[in-house]
């Protein structure tokens, strides 16, 4: 088991190197660079930069170097933990990302807990009460939940709250706390606001997980060990909770591998719509403005989170299922 985890850990740097090349190629790809679009913007407002400043800036950001040198410099800085400077804001990227990364993680975590806390019990109920009215209702809600893109859900909820109650349900903080330093009051304020984005981001995942849980459990409920358990005098409830539920959750754990990364990046669109201060809107803005080092840094963070998500699910799966555990020792 330990060896298996080590193997997986060794894989991380390799993946990160490949991803970094891809990411760099991507943020490099658009024709022109930040400076050209910056100059264009300035020109459109009537002002301009003199030639020396341009050369100075080009040199400062290494834009005058060949691409591979730029990449190597970027990588060296990344390895030193230096995420580089934002071209647009003229600030260190680390500072820009700072709190927003934390909020990204907190939001994803809340959505994740919400998903599992809802999906597992509902899935169990649905499977054990197959073909009852509630089961049909769950199925209907699931289909709709999967079908509504989460930004649509956000829009609909926001529109509803605004038009019915005049409420603006955007953001993660009240206005008073937006710029305030962290305090207990701010955390409480965050908790007051986070539940709605949590539901919006988690709903589709909940619907999917509920469906999978229900289907898995239905499969398990027909297994011969159920007959054996009943024949030993276990009550239906004891039996269902101990064996089939456990066995149908196991394969779900492997879904964490793609679900966690999806939560991190899935919040991106919702965050833009609902004006949530996480790294999503920042990425969007940096991509549109060709702020390549900022975009690159955020993309690398997403890649890293994706890899970690997969790693967590792989380890959990091995830990939970003795059959895989023994195989991979």
């Amino acid at each position: 088991m330990l060896r298996y985890i080590l193997q997986r850990l060794i894989l991380i740097p390799i993946l990160l190197i490949i991803f970094s090349i891809m990411v760099f190629a991507l943020v490099q790809a658009p024709p022109g660079d930040f400076l050209t679009s910056y100059i264009a913007t300035l020109a459109s407002t009537g002002s301009s930069l003199n030639q020396e400043t341009i050369v100075m800036l080009e040199h400062q950001f290494g834009l005058d170097q060949p691409v591979h040198i730029q990449y190597i410099r970027w990588m060296q800085n990344l390895l030193r933990g230096d995420l580089g400077l934002s071209l647009e804001y003229q600030l260190p990227n680390a500072e820009l990302i700072g709190d927003r990364l934390g909020l990204t993680l907190v939001l994803a975590l809340f959505a994740f807990v919400f998903t599992w806390a809802m999906a597992i019990p509902i899935g169990i109920y649905s499977a054990t009460h197959r073909n009852t009215i509630l089961d049909y209702l769950v199925t209907v809600v699931n289909y709709t939940g999967v079908a509504i893109p989460n930004f649509m859900l956000a829009l609909i909820l926001m529109w509803f709250a605004y038009s019915q109650f005049g409420l603006s349900i955007t953001g993660l903080f009240s206005r008073d706390f937006e710029q305030a330093p962290w305090s207990i009051a701010k955390v409480i304020d965050l908790l007051k606001h986070i539940w709605l984005p949590m539901i919006v981001i988690g709903l589709a995942g909940t619907a999917r997980l509920t469906r999978v849980m229900r289907a898995n459990l239905l499969d398990e409920l027909n297994k011969p060990y159920m007959v054996s358990g009943r024949a030993r005098g276990l009550s239906e409830w004891q039996l269902v909770m101990k064996y089939p539920v456990r066995l149908s959750i196991n394969p779900l754990v492997s879904t964490i591998g793609w679900y966690l990364p999806e939560l991190f990046s899935g919040s991106l669109i919702v965050a833009t719509v609902m004006n949530l201060q996480n790294i999503g809107p920042l990425l969007l803005r940096s991509l549109i403005n060709q702020d390549m080092y900022l975009a690159g840094a955020i993309l690398m963070i997403y890649c890293f989170l994706a890899i970690i998500g997969t790693l967590i699910s792989d380890i959990l799966l091995v830990w939970l299922d003795p059959r895989i555990r023994m195989e991979k020792v």
Partner: protein, 405 residues
């Protein structure tokens, strides 16, 4: 019965006799099973001679929701093929004076007669808030006609037509029909929706087709040949699957040059969507190939000297076609939602191209939405389309292998 059979087909007189005998026996046996209802036997016979496809269809037919969804999809497909037929005016036509006109519903009766019309809309600017206020004037009627003629368009590039689903009854009068209201620039939502449907649906389908081709090809190669090729393809799939999808898609679409024409962007986006789409299918195909390779009939084909391409095409792929169709159907909505999201963020299709996501861009502002909630209608169509594809896909999957659950 013997008389009818042409003599040439019987080399000797014995053949028909031999054939007749078991028949007599069979009837005798059936007679002796007595009250056994004949219908069951026929039903069983029907099932036993039905082809795999017929069986899939029979099972699919029983799934009411899937059948209804199929009808919905067929309707959407018609819109894709003939957006002009559904449109009431040009989707590009702007008119600032007609911005944010609310939904006009068709009234069917006029003075007790069946004569459909829509009320005209009068706009007045509120002197205090400066907001436009629209009032429907029921006395001013624009009569509408179904399947009437209006501007002409080409049908699939084959011939010209000027028939439209809805058009103004009076050709001379300027069209004032806004079945789904208008947007910020006074463009007709209904007509735009028709054209958006065309683009969004085709993006979904084409990217799935590309994914299927790639998935079949690479998955097939991987599963059939194994070895190092398999290894490389598997690592590639793992790599692609561990990428954070949405950010990478965003970065990819952001990298598309602004100067590109809508057609170029369209194809670039389908390719981008397919880039990861193929991996799931390739995995499945590989798995099927691996297990099929062991099957007797493939071995038999190999022994009889069939070429590899022939074995794959003639013997292996047909065994899981229905499954592939089901999986692809389920992949289409994913593509549609992704395209909609990307365009909604301004990184997918760009105006002047019209897609559901592009239309939804107009609905980003909550104040605007509160004023003109009909701007969300493209979103409703997205939900309906996704739902329909999912229901049909699930129905197909259950019909294709009913014992999988």
């Amino acid at each position: 019965m013997d008389n009818i059979e042409p003599k040439i087909l019987q080399p000797e007189g014995v053949a028909p006799l031999e054939k007749a005998e078991p028949e007599i026996e069979a009837t005798a046996a059936r007679a002796e099973t007595f009250e056994e209802p004949l219908t069951t036997t026929q039903e069983e016979e029907r099932i036993s001679i039905a082809s795999n496809w017929t069986l899939v269809w029979w099972r699919f037919r029983k799934n009411v929701l899937a059948v209804i969804s199929t009808v919905v999809l067929i309707f959407l497909a018609t819109v894709v093929l003939l957006p002009d037929f559904f449109a009431t005016m040009s989707p590009e036509k702007t008119n600032a004076r007609l911005a944010f006109i609310p939904v006009q519903s068709i009234h069917w009766l006029d003075e007790g007669q069946l004569k459909p019309w829509v009320p005209s809309v009068e706009g007045k600017r509120d002197p205090v808030t400066l907001k436009m206020l629209w009032t429907t004037d029921e006395t001013q009627k624009t009569y509408v006609k179904f399947f009437g003629s209006s501007w002409s368009y080409s049908v699939l590039g084959l011939f010209e037509s000027n028939i439209h689903l809805v058009s103004g009854a009076d050709q001379t009068q300027e069209n004032q029909i806004f079945l789904l209201g208008t947007d910020r620039l006074g463009r007709d939502q209904w007509s735009r929706l028709a054209f958006a449907t065309r683009i969004s649906m085709t993006i979904g389908m084409i990217s799935v087709i590309v994914s299927v081709v790639l998935g079949l090809l690479l998955g097939g190669i991987s599963g059939y040949f194994g070895g190092w090729i398999d290894n490389i393809i598997q690592r590639l799939i793992e790599l692609l699957q561990s990428l954070p999808t949405i950010p990478i898609w965003l970065a990819l679409t952001a990298a598309l040059p602004r100067t590109w024409s809508p057609e170029k962007v369209f194809f670039a986006i389908t390719i981008i969507l397919a880039l990861r789409g193929w991996t799931t299918l390739a995995r499945e195909v590989r798995g099927r190939f691996l297990s099929l390779r062991e099957e007797d009939f493939v071995l038999a084909a190999e022994l009889s000297g069939a070429s590899q391409a022939r074995i794959i095409l003639k013997h292996m792929i047909p065994t899981f076609t229905s499954h592939i169709i089901a999986t692809s159907t389920l992949a289409i909505p994913v593509m549609i939602v992704t395209e909609t999201s990307l365009s909604f963020l301004g990184l997918g299709m760009r105006p002047p191209a019209i897609s559901w996501g592009v239309m939804l861009q107009e609905a980003q502002n909550i104040q605007t939405l509160a004023l003109a909630p009909w701007l969300l209608t493209p979103g409703l169509i997205v939900i309906v389309a996704v739902l329909a594809f999912n229901l049909v896909g699930d129905g197909l999957r259950d019909a294709a292998d009913p014992y999988s659950h």
